[in-house]
Symmetry: C2
Subunit: 210 residues, 2 copies
């Protein structure tokens, strides 16, 4: 139950972020901490998985937005393959829904990139010790925005509408009549309290509900 393993073996880290500049800088800063050791780096989701299998790190620090597979998906796979590896997600602009999905995927920590490196190092130790850490502000956002009020079909139709497709196309893809599609869209719009379907799509995206 020691939070900081003073003289023990260091915490082995995997760092995954598609931005070289940031990943490298982060690796350099975390290397300054005596009890932390970066054993692998990755620039994409699949690469992160491969690196994790090869090096079996204690803690995986994953960016939420990566090419190939996002942080949450990687976390899900890791949970199955390497149960001993704790996952910490770092994100630029956190959406409430992402936090929820991340926690469901067994992620132990969730922090925005606005924290300092010093703070991040502390959080890595917290997570490694078996505790959880969620950024208070992101947690508050997630709680205040609550669960999705949308039903399964509403969310499905809204997702198909997300890229501006016309109703006919959505109806075809969902195997529904046009009237039904409009109805779901309308219902989603009123539940979300917005003006039109496009605002609904934006809001649902912000909240991470689609």
């Amino acid at each position: 139950m020691t939070a900081v393993p003073e003289a023990g073996r260091p915490v082995r880290l995997l760092l995954a972020d598609d931005e070289h500049l940031i990943r490298g800088a982060l690796a350099a800063l975390l290397a300054l901490e005596d009890d932390l050791l970066v054993v692998a780096e990755a620039a994409s989701g699949p690469e992160a998985l491969a690196m994790a299998r090869a090096h079996e790190p204690d803690v995986a620090v994953l960016d939420l937005q990566m090419p190939g597979a996002d942080g949450v998906r990687v976390a899900t796979s890791l949970r199955a393959e390497l149960p001993g590896c704790r996952v910490l997600i770092v994100t630029g602009h956190g959406r409430p829904g992402h936090l929820k999905r991340a926690l469901e995927a067994g992620v132990r920590g969730f922090v925005p990139k606005t924290v300092s490196a010093q703070r991040l190092a502390e959080i890595i130790r917290t997570v490694h010790a078996g505790n959880r850490y969620v950024d208070p502000e992101l947690a508050a956002d997630a709680i205040s925005s609550g669960d999705s009020p949308l039903t399964a079909r509403e969310a499905e139709v809204l997702e198909l509408a997300a890229d501006g497709a016309p109703v006919v196309e959505i109806a075809e893809r969902a195997a529904l009549s046009q009237g039904t599609v409009r109805n779901y869209l309308s219902s989603a719009v009123s539940k979300l309290g917005v003006e039109n379907r496009h605002a609904a799509v934006r809001l649902a995206r912000e909240r991470g509900w689609v």
Copy 2:
């Protein structure tokens, strides 16, 4: 005309990025270079301007996406107030149009965050020596996507339509008849070769034309 001022006074840098983690890490890495000196940091557009006025750096390294005012806007102000200060823009996901606007604003360098810190240091020296540097891949994107085919009004109307506002509202805000607004929207859609206004907004955003 010395590209690397070996024993001269160091290059004075301003670093602006809203993500603490990255800014701090970057500052630490650049500090390792003997000829570079970070004299100021900022987390927002206005703050970056204030810091620049106070410290008069040789080179300003600005993130493109910042609260308050984006990198290009800051660059425009800097050009007027501190003509001696070179501006280098760093961006996560570069849109072609942003590069063009940046160059028009007198920016001397434009690089994605996928470069290494080592490389960034070299580019800072290049820019400080009075030369320009634009990431080859971003430049290729910008050239292949070309100039905006939209007229001034078309772009204006498209921008007002960007957040899903209905035509009536756009017409009011632009002081136009509804028919005219629809016409501009329609023209933009056909010029961009897409299905509907929403796809047009997305494409124009991607290209940095709005």
